[in-house]
């Protein structure tokens, strides 16, 4: 089962310079909420920013990670 700390570590590892805050939204280990701040988001649309994060998890989104609610920001 994924946990918030693992998701945070994976996001920060995959996007250079990213800082992520991840909560387990429901406490059930499948609905997460993340705020990600990364230089890599500069100049990208929200769609493109969210795709960068979703791509880290691939098929896990909709599988073991039922939901990952995102807020993305360029610093």
């Amino acid at each position: 089962m994924p946990d918030a700390a693992t998701l945070k570590a994976r996001i920060e590892a995959a996007i250079p310079g990213a800082r992520a805050e991840v909560d387990d939204w429901t406490g059930g280990g499948d609905h997460f909420r993340a705020t990600v701040v990364a230089d890599a988001f500069a100049g990208l649309s929200r769609i493109q920013q969210h795709r960068l994060v979703y791509e880290i998890f691939g098929d896990e989104i909709g599988g073991p990670i039922h939901a990952l609610s995102l807020t993305t920001l360029a610093p």
């Binding site: 929200r46 769609i47 795709r51 979703y54 998890f57 990952l68 609610s69 995102l70």
Partner: protein, 131 residues
């Protein structure tokens, strides 16, 4: 199932997106959303008095698979305006709060005929809704 059938689902999805100015792929129906994220997105569209088509992805798992393959977006709901993916619940909510969504939908609605045609997309059950 055969590749051909999956391609026909993808084709039906692509046609639905191109034929409906505002279309929401969701879990459940606008009257009975089956997921909190879908419910919130419907509520936002209705609060803006947006006319939108809705497609329930739940009756056949291939609808969701083909939609995500087409849109390169993993989650449901997915809102399309003018043939372009706007986003899911998070982005729609954020754009609603900043006023960008009303601006986008207002611009689209001015270009939309008062009575858009109801798409006949075969395998998809599409409902046209006035919020």
């Amino acid at each position: 199932m055969t590749d051909q059938h999956e391609n026909s689902i993808r084709q039906a999805i692509a046609e639905a997106i191109s034929e409906n100015e505002v279309i929401l792929f969701m879990k459940g129906s606008p009257e009975a959303p089956a997921c909190g994220f879908s419910a919130r997105t419907v509520g936002i569209l209705q609060s803006l008095d947006t006319r939108f088509a809705a497609v329930d992805v739940l009756p056949d798992p291939r609808i969701r698979q083909e939609l995500s393959a087409l849109s390169n977006w993993p989650t449901i709901p997915q809102l399309f305006v003018g043939g372009e993916l706007v986003g899911g619940c998070d982005i729609v909510t954020e754009m609603y709060e900043t006023g960008e969504l009303a601006e986008l939908l207002g611009a689209e609605q001015q270009q939309t005929p008062a009575e858009p045609e109801v798409a006949d997309a075969g395998v998809l059950q599409i409902e046209n809704r006035l919020g």
